[in-house]
Subunit: 361 residues, 2 copies
């Protein structure tokens, strides 16, 4: 891991010019480059500040750090402390250009830097600078995500087997949590989603006291974390002997939309873009009359973050490349009735795809 | 709860002038005012935008919302979508002043608003505007936090009883998680901290494979959540028959520092400030020669967020008032040896204090 980390730092530094510097403030980017873990994600526990000649982790004084040799550890991450660290390095290394990430840097932090009146031009850095690195997974990352996915799929099979009349959404959540623990998974990629009946019409419903009854839809969306790497998987089932006609209709549309996307990747001869994948699912669902009920993107990259580039959205023209790992998750949501989502985590291979959230039975 | 929420909204709106508006971007503030829950805290799932005449929740399309009558729900929270929502309301209601929270608003979000070239002055809102509301807890909030604390204290007693030679930090974490579940706690206030021996010298150490042996320090820092409200409690024990002299020395200093703070609150005749409390603990620890090893503040407020105002720090001059709930947690950290922290969650009462993380035995 340390070798990988150092390698990532070097690749980034090679892209910089002698007088350039880059301030990294996205949690996932910081984890990717330094292995630093946030205890409370909504607090600013760390930044990374990189120049051609130095790689600095600016962090709260009480945060656990790894003491890696290629990293300078600097204590204090409040806006004023951040600005002081930057000032010292910028002046010492004669930096003329400061690149920032406006989507994750707070207004107050930028103000504090500007108040130092440094002789430095401040610009946004191209999103691709770190995203291009993160979106192509290396072998270790693929192994971790694959393991997280296979455990997630096993837990999914087990919990669906165990569903019984009278159980509440919260009780199912509790049992899922137990099943993960039995597989030595203590950290999850995101809060467990369990939705019965009409609750499934809300993509991010959180478990409540709703009771499972016969002839009800059950939507379960879960993901393990293995060594900080995420999995993501959704299944929607009909609880009861006889699926409703409406359920059968919606299920077949969503499953076919999913296949359209996989086929698009498996059959690709030339390069294909993220929006081609979204388009494959969306065109099919629109053709069946449910375009307005497919209310989210077709998927997203995942890794150290549960949502990371590439977004599989209608507007993203990023090329889909081997060793990207993405979710494919078309869904149709019928208010006050039910929602149906089908989601796998998928590895893009040289000539096709590999579904990582693979159920063994 | 809905009544409380509406009341909070009204108090905030009463503080605004006719032409003012306020954009709220802190997760805890948003939860406090609307009961909106973030699924992935590092993603921007919602804002609140308040004017004298309207209370708007701007949120991602797939987030669960409560459909409360006093709230206008507006879909789309990307920077450009946010800016569009604001533009419509600002022009419709003839708003002249936009107050923002620079500590939680991203640079890109402010840019998107400015790009709309609205005829509106943009200023930072006084931190006290919402913090003063949140820091004084109402009866329902006190009940929820009290329950979270009493369960946390019970789990703490149980896990300390169960410690045995050969167990790893991760195994202890797993067992704590089980104990919480047995008490119907599925959500925790923060990741479980379990640190053996020298690992306890790092305040936020995360559990690893270290094995518990005789004559070792064990630091455990845990907190349940009840209805989204946090508890926070730390105990440090000596595992073994005979405490080392060094441990006895440090333990007695930290416990006395804790008492100095409680006494300061219990004996108060006039108003007292947050920094008076920090000072009480710090002066004592400094007098014993360990000032440089007390590397964090004496405590913090808690509620919907694990860290919220008032910070019990050397620089915070906020008055300590009845119905505030704060942690008191002095600690001494000796690198490569061990750390000792003692922490309770404490309710400030009219004439003293009440320790909420109270162990029954």
């Amino acid at each position: 891991m340390n070798k990988n980390l150092k390698n990532r730092a070097q690749i980034l530094q090679e892209k910089l010019q002698e007088s350039q510097s880059i301030l990294i403030s996205a949690i996932g980017d910081i984890a990717y480059l330094s292995n630093f873990k946030f205890l409370v994600p909504e607090e600013r526990e760390a930044f990374i500040f990189v120049t051609k000649n130095s790689f600095n982790l600016i962090h709260t004084s009480f945060a656990p750090i790894n003491n890696l040799k290629f990293i300078n550890y600097l204590k204090g991450s409040f806006p004023e402390e951040l600005a002081n660290h930057l000032k010292l390095i910028i002046e010492k290394e004669n930096i003329k250009n400061l690149l920032i990430d406006p989507e994750t840097l707070f207004v107050r932090e930028l103000e504090a830097i500007k108040e130092k009146k440094l002789e430095v031009a401040i610009n946004n850095y191209p999103k691709s600078l770190i995203q291009d690195l993160r979106s192509i997974k290396d072998i270790e990352e693929i192994e971790k995500i694959s393991l997280a996915c296979s455990i997630t799929a096993k837990v999914m099979t087990d919990i669906i087997d165990e569903l019984k009349e009278g159980i509440t959404e919260i009780e199912v959540k509790k049992r899922i949590s137990n099943l993960f623990e039995l597989n030595n998974i203590l950290d999850l990629a995101f809060p467990i989603i369990v939705a019965f009946g009409p609750n499934s019409a809300l993509p991010h419903h959180q478990p409540g006291e709703k009771i499972l009854q016969n002839n009800m839809t059950v939507l379960i969306d879960i993901g393990a974390k293995v060594s900080d790497y995420c999995a993501d998987m959704t299944r929607t089932i009909w609880f009861g002997k006889q699926k409703s006609e409406r359920f059968i209709e919606i299920e077949s549309i969503v499953l076919q939309a999913y296949k359209e996307v996989i086929n698009k990747m498996d059959d690709r001869k030339t390069s294909i873009k993220a929006n081609d994948l979204d388009n494959a699912a969306r065109t099919y669902i629109v053709s069946k009359g449910y375009g307005n009920q497919f209310i989210h993107t077709t998927g997203h990259g995942l890794g150290l973050s549960i949502h990371e580039p590439p977004s599989i959205s209608w507007s993203n023209q990023t090329n889909i490349e081997p060793n990207m790992i993405i979710t494919i998750e078309p869904g149709i949501y019928l208010n006050d009735e039910f929602g149906y989502r089908y989601e796998n985590t998928v590895l893009v291979t040289k000539d096709g795809t590999k579904e990582l959230t693979f159920e063994s039975k």
